[in-house]
Symmetry: C2
Subunit: 176 residues, 2 copies
DNA sequence: CCTAAACAAGACCAATTCGGTACGAATTTA
DNA sequence: TAAATTCGTACCGAATTGGTCTTGTTTAGG
């Protein structure tokens, strides 16, 4: 369906949550950790998004590796945005989680075995056009634009049903 | 990687081949079947693209169901383009093979369980913007634009390595 | 009528990828 | 030292994908 993976969607959601909290703290200043402003822990983010802690942690690590977040280890550690929300493009988030954006094997910088004989394939040029158009679309929207004009409510309801395998539905339980 | 499935890529390649043959026949008129102009069989297409016959057949059926091709059953049957190449968008091909284009579960016309509580998710609007941008990009390029200005050579070399499971590399062998 | 050529439809299977979990190690603060 | 927290990686089950196969159905032609 030409859809991005669920993980990527989660990642953007987490980033949005992070950015929202960032805005919120400017007003309230109330945080779980001892005053480390704009710093969120994986557990806290997990609770606020309704996702599993481990999953959130994995994503956060990935995003930090991509340079989108700065991390602080140890007690009272956590993550915070590396740049202002309006300087973080959706493209950057997607790339951090799923790797370079390439609609076909031939488009983009040939990371991973390109389909052989692409030199003869008449379509590579067309695909490249499409590919860069998509990349532009993704790069044109920043995290700030993904947020609603008003900051998120401090206690957002859990989003995304977990569809947890064996009969468990943690997210719904948390919501109820 | 935000890539479209290999099948989709195959589909476009097949369509291009069909369109190329269409152009070619205007000049040469030489065809394997008994003069059924612009009509190609699955086997013929498979041979010219270097893909497996069964795979090509499946794709052709899919494309026909999507209304992009017309099919003629029985002896001397085959497929031909339903419309002129410049009236077939890449978007149409992608949609025919992978279903509606929806970058997230919430974007697009909610086919298949949308992620619960999307009403509360602050990002649906942003995703919709991106989604329609991508759809526009795909819809802006037609099959005709994917082809090179000159018609394909009648006997194109096989494209796309099959990566056939146990150590076989048919395409490379054919190329060498 | 009979056969061959071709599409139609779906079942089926192996391989990969995806979503999610678990555990141990490193690092920082108290 | 103890607690909190990230880091890294390995792992597993399930879903998806890529590809094959089998069994019709339709048409042309002898
Ligand atoms: S070279 Fe052609 S066939 Fe190969 S991935 Fe690119 S577009 Fe597809
Ligand atoms: S509603 Fe939000 S969390 Fe759910 S799919 Fe859409 S963007 Fe992702």
């Amino acid at each position: 369906m030409l859809k991005l993976s669920r993980m990527t969607d989660y990642a953007v959601l987490i980033m949005a949550q992070l950015a929202g909290a960032d805005q919120a703290v400017a007003g309230t200043g109330s945080f779980a950790n001892g005053g480390n402003e704009g710093m969120d822990t994986a557990s806290g983010l997990a609770e606020r998004t309704g996702l599993q802690q481990a999953t959130v942690a994995k994503l956060l690590r990935l995003l930090a590796q991509g340079g989108l977040l700065t991390s602080q280890r140890g007690a009272h550690g956590g993550y915070m945005l590396a740049r202002a929300p309006q300087d973080i493009t959706v493209s950057a988030i997607v790339t951090a989680v799923e790797g370079p954006i390439a609609i076909t094997a031939c488009a983009d910088g040939h990371s991973g075995e390109p389909c052989s004989l692409e030199i003869l394939c008449p379509m590579s040029h067309g695909w490249n056009r499409i590919n860069s158009a998509i990349r532009t679309a993704l790069a044109d929207i920043t995290l700030a634009e993904m947020l609603p004009p008003a900051p998120l409510p401090a206690r957002a309801a859990p989003v995304m049903a977990a569809k947890a395998g064996p009969g468990k539905d943690a997210a719904l339980a948390a919501a109820g």
